[in-house]
């Protein structure tokens, strides 16, 4: 097991986790790309030492983890695209790509005394649309 691969896995995971905890969805997407690379490397390391080329005999490398890694790459690829679409949609709706708080949680917190003191003043105006309706609520049918 090569030490450089292990350090690479650790570094990619650390950077990935840091980015995923960010509020901006585009950074989260970058974080998931790094994490995806980390998992693929981890699967390769799990497969044991590298081997000879498969043509001409000799000790070939274990093919199973490589098949697993390929599947993981394909899935990560599709999900990155989906996340990008989600970020674009959020940008259309709100003008940025930030992950927002749970509106209903905030409303319930505001009904308590502690919530009153700390949060009511900071309440984001974007929680309520201009006509006073709540964006979390489904629109009424005309």
């Amino acid at each position: 097991m090569s030490l450089s691969l292990l350090i690479a896995i650790g570094g990619l995971t650390a950077a990935g986790v840091y980015l995923v905890t960010s509020r901006s969805l585009s950074r989260v997407i970058l974080g998931f790309s790094l994490l995806g690379h980390a998992t693929v490397l981890a699967l390769l390391v799990a497969g044991g030492p590298p081997g000879e080329p498969p043509i001409g005999g000799g000790d070939v490398a274990n093919p199973l983890p490589q098949a697993l890694a390929l599947t993981a790459i394909v899935i990560a690829f599709g999900l990155t695209l989906f996340l990008l679409a989600l970020a674009a949609r959020q940008q259309n709706l709100t003008g940025d790509d930030l992950v927002e708080d749970d509106i209903e949680d905030r409303r319930i917190r505001n009904t308590t005394d502690a919530g009153d003191r700390h949060d009511r003043l900071e309440d984001d105006e974007r929680d309520v649309l201009p006509d006073g309706s709540d964006p979390g609520e489904e629109p009424a049918v005309a």
Binding site: A46, L68, L86, E138, P139
Partner: protein
């Protein structure tokens, strides 16, 4: 029998592919999807009968040895889960057809095929015999759930969808790391081979793998403290979609926990499971009490009930695991029905908020009756199935003299009754606060929506009526699980 196993997975997938092509022909599309889901449900029932009669069915995909290829294992546990899950999905699809064109309906040209893909993923998750295929099936389920949750692109859905997707994607990454750990330490991802080899590992590595997968499957199942994504995301989707998520997705997490942690013999983790289970039950029930919208109360109930199933598993005894399996069977239809009724409530009065509703028992007594049966069942009132399920789990706890977790279960049960009461008082009794406003008339195909909900309610009562036989089957499945040697021999022979 092998054909049945293949059909359960392939029929919904094929119908999804054809359904996407037929997006401009609504009637034909709905019939194809319905046919695919119906075929899968039918074959799963036949499979259950076959497995009870002849024992476990093993399918080696492509004829490869389990060391290299994929094996599908229809043992009693998997065969018990499949008919419930697939029949529920079929009923929900009927409901979805009735609900479309209302404010709470889904977009039919996408949600039908997606539901079929999700069904295939569920069937694969129940049947798979190796860890990596389990990962793939989780991804199939999750990807279709991401799209189903956000496909209408409404603001609340996108907001909740972002948290849901990021959370689940992160856990999938952890899952993949877990697969790499397992492969590095044992050289296999097949569950039977893993069960054979894992006992040779040092205790720290073995329990580390167990705890790692507890985090992975526990997040999917929404246990404390990893549940916060659930009540945020579920209520924003159309009712038919939320009902499937609520009834089935978290249960796949519990199923995976039961499967993985029994076959690898992780009974040392029992105390950890029980602690988490106790906290999950109580926190979920308290969370439900704080909410003011029907679907959010119901979402917190999911978390609370997950605690009971985890508690059953945590005992690592035949009675406990049998109770957990029966709890799963009871909870899948009951929870789905409650969300379907939640959709009926929203449809009748155009709001799911307790603050501006009331008096529905007078205006729509039938909906009130449809709500009452599963609500009493979920709260664990006899003679409904919830009572049998809770009794099975709690009596397993009394057997093991685990006083604390049994007390937590009873407290959580009481709180559940209270919060169900809150819905009943808020929605069905009393008066509408702004009674001068005209009550809007309900939209959609009420006949189809109420009809499909009625079928599901009758199904939950059928579980109560056949509780004895089902509990026996669950215990038999638990006996098989507690003795992994049987599973290993069947898969590798």
């Amino acid at each position: 029998m092998n054909t049945l196993v293949a059909l359960v997975i392939a029929a919904p997938l094929v119908s999804a592919a054809v359904g996407v092509l037929l997006r401009s022909r609504p009637v034909l599309r709905d019939s194809v999807i319905g046919l695919g889901l119906g075929a899968a449900a039918g074959s799963s029932i036949a499979l259950l009968v076959g497995v009870i009669r002849d024992g476990t069915v093993i399918v080696r995909v492509g004829g490869w040895h389990p060391e290299l290829g994929i094996v599908l294992v229809a043992d009693l546990l998997a065969a018990l889960m499949l008919p419930w899950a697939l029949t529920i999905i079929f009923v929900v699809e009927l409901y979805a057809i009735g609900q479309r064109r209302t404010a709470w309906g889904s977009n039919p040209e996408l949600s039908g095929p997606l539901l079929a893909v999700l069904t295939a993923g569920l069937a694969l998750a129940f049947l798979t015999g190796d860890l990596f295929t389990l990962f793939v099936s989780f991804e199939i389920i999750l990807v279709s759930s991401y799209v189903m949750l956000t496909h209408q692109g409404r603001r609340g859905q996108i907001r909740a969808g972002m948290t849901y997707v990021v959370m689940n994607l992160f856990v999938s990454t952890l899952f993949l790391f877990g697969v790499a750990f397992v492969y590095a330490s044992t050289g296999t991802v097949n569950l039977a081979l893993l069960a054979q080899r894992i006992s040779e590992l040092p205790d720290t590595i073995r329990l580390g793998i167990g705890a790692w997968f507890f985090v992975v499957f526990g997040t999917k199942a929404a246990v404390f403290p990893l549940f916060s994504w659930l009540p945020d995301a579920y209520p924003t989707a159309p009712t038919s979609i939320t009902a499937v998520f609520a009834g089935l997705l978290t249960k796949v997490g519990i199923y995976a926990l039961i499967r993985f942690h029994t076959v690898t013999g992780m009974s040392d983790l029992g105390p950890l499971f029980l602690t988490v289970a106790g906290v999950t039950m109580v926190i979920g029930a308290i969370g439900a009490l704080a909410q003011s919208k029907v679907k959010r109360i119901l979402s917190f109930h999911i978390i609370s009930q997950i605690g009971y199933m985890l508690m059953g598993l945590g005992f690592f005894s035949v009675a406990g695991i049998g109770g957990a399996i029966f709890f799963l069977l009871h909870h899948m239809p009951v929870k789905t029905v409650l969300f379907l009724v939640g959709g009926l409530i929203e449809n009748e009065q155009r709001s799911g908020s307790l603050d501006n509703s009331g008096g529905l028992a007078r205006r729509a007594p039938y909906v009130a009756a449809l709500f009452a049966v599963p609500a009493l069942s979920l709260a664990g009132i006899p003679p409904f199935s919830g009572f049998v399920a809770k009794l099975a789990v709690v009596s397993a706890g009394v057997e093991q003299a685990s006083g604390a977790v049994v007390a937590a279960a009873l407290v959580a049960g009481f709180l559940t009754v209270l919060s169900m009461n809150k819905i009943w008082m808020g929605v069905f009794w009393g008066e509408r606060p702004n009674d001068t406003e005209p009550i809007p008339t309900a939209a959609g195909n009420r006949w189809l929506m109420r009809g499909s909900t009625t079928i599901a309610v009758v199904a939950t009562m059928a579980i109560a009526a056949s509780a004895g036989a089902l509990l026996d089957l669950s215990e038999q499945a638990a006996v098989d699980l507690m003795n992994p040697a049987v599973y290993i021999a069947e898969v590798l022979s």
